[in-house]
């Protein structure tokens, strides 16, 4: 975390890269998370289907999907605008979904809902892959690249 505390102009402006090193990791991670979110909702709705009516369940799914996508999209966008602190938010969010998916998958498996458990397993795999991308060195380098160019840009704009 030491590098995040440095002043914005501590390093020279890096060269322009339209596809910065690690950008594919960032894209891969966000898309794997986008695919995981509906699976989280499917598992949750399978678990609580006995408690709520189908109509209420559909509304709940839609509302949760909007919230979850916004919670994923906004930090990802801010990260690409140099807000490196969002990296940690995304890592924690990913960990939360991995745990949620794993718990839901195990529960459904124990309840005998094998089909949904396999869907959950696919979700766990995708979320774990996204987590690996979030924590990869290349992802860190692209976060640092965005931080540098945006901090330079902001400090230039203030002058």
């Amino acid at each position: 975390m030491e590098k995040h505390c440095k002043t914005p102009t501590d390093k020279a402006m890096p060269e322009y890269q339209v596809l910065p090193k690690g950008m594919w990791h960032m894209l891969g991670a966000v898309m794997l998370m986008v695919f995981s979110l509906p699976i989280v909702l499917m598992l949750l709705s399978a678990l609580v289907s006995g408690l709520l009516s189908e109509r209420a369940l559909v509304y709940l799914e839609m509302a949760l999907l909007v919230v979850m996508v916004l919670f994923l999209a906004t930090p990802t966008f801010l990260l690409s605008r140099g807000w490196s602190v969002c990296h940690r938010v995304l890592c924690w969010q990913n960990l939360f979904y991995v745990l949620l998916l794993a718990t839901a998958t195990c529960t459904l498996f124990l309840l005998g809902s094998t089909g949904m458990a396999f869907t959950g397993l696919a979700g766990v795999i995708m979320a774990v892959l996204a987590g690996m991308l979030y924590r990869s060195e290349r992802y860190g380098s692209v976060v640092e690249y965005y931080r540098l160019i945006w901090s330079q840009h902001r400090s230039n704009s203030k002058r």
Partner: protein, 301 residues
């Protein structure tokens, strides 16, 4: 056959279909012909195009019939013959909708991938272009978020189509859902239009300097890059004088000469953005001419 409310795949496609039918189908003549048959007086009329988008042309009216009767006009997909299609409609009426939901999910998720690609690449370009494309970048964020939502929604609809198709029907009949999907379409299209505008602006800038896209990708001379950099600065601040331009260049506020690599990459980005825009449009809009129709009469027992 069990009568159930017919689905609206999405309201944008539905409006497109209504507009198409307004000039391709003589609805008054059709309704008159239906009402001539005593068994069909006041029957509701529903049209389903080859992609599964459906619109209600006329609601059922309780004139002579006590139980609702609907006439379903269904466009034939080009891949199968009329006879095969009729048996398909009779036996597996929802199968084609599963496929169309899955295809819709693939297109929405493809648009989301490209939407995020545009967000990440444009964010990398803004600090170097002096913030000229900030508004477009925020629109791209909106489009990427909307496409991600559509992707998630389509995946859930595909699941519904397998496990509980009536849930999709219920959603499709909700006005708020139709409005929400329309809003998402508009946001996606807004992002796509912004990408398109950026591409057009980039091409116009290159053309104003007599440079083709291919030459921009191959590499430009020092003078050409200098002229192009000035043109970009002028485009970002219209009405700027040469004097101010020179002062800003000296102060380092604007780029004196973009590198060949930067121009090549920006051109490549614009090409990719335009592909993203095309995908978003494909995901949202529908087109085509009126093809062969399958007609079904659906009534409640």
């Amino acid at each position: 056959m069990e009568a159930r409310p017919l689905p609206f795949q999405n309201s944008f496609a539905q409006k497109q279909l209504k507009a198409r039918l307004a000039y391709t189908l003589n609805q008054e003549k059709l309704f008159t012909a239906i009402d001539r048959d005593p068994a069909l007086v006041g029957a509701g009329v529903v049209f389903i195009d080859e992609r599964g988008t459906s619109v209600t042309l006329r609601d059922f009216e309780y004139i002579c019939l006590s139980k609702p009767v609907r006439i379903v006009l269904r466009e034939l997909p080009s891949r199968i013959s009329a006879i095969d299609y009729i048996s398909e409609v009779k036996n597996t009426p929802r199968e084609s909708r599963f496929v169309s939901e899955a295809v819709g999910a693939a297109v929405s998720c493809g648009a989301a991938v490209i939407g995020w690609f545009v967000v990440l690449t444009s964010s990398a370009a803004i600090p170097f272009s002096g913030g000229g494309s900030t508004v477009f970048s925020i629109m791209a964020y909106g489009a990427a978020t909307a496409s991600s939502l559509q992707c998630g929604n389509s995946l859930m609809r595909t699941r519904n189509e397998m496990t509980a198709p009536y849930m999709n029907d219920e959603l499709d009949n909700e006005e708020w859902y139709q409005n929400a999907t329309l809003a998402l379409d508009v946001i996606s299209l807004g992002g796509a239009s912004a990408s398109g505008l950026m591409t057009v602006r980039g091409i116009k800038l290159l053309r104003s300097q007599g440079i083709t896209t291919r030459r921009a990708l191959e590499g430009l001379s020092r003078q050409e890059r200098r002229r192009l950099s000035r043109e970009i600065a002028r485009s970002n601040a219209s009405g700027i004088s040469n004097q101010t331009l020179k002062i800003m260049e000296r102060a380092g506020k604007i780029e004196r000469r973009f590198s060949n690599a930067a121009i090549k990459k920006a051109t490549m980005r614009q090409i990719k953005d335009s592909i993203g825009a095309t995908l978003s449009f494909t995901g949202s809009a529908t087109s085509g001419v009126l093809g062969t129709l399958a007609v079904a009469v659906v009534s409640e027992e």
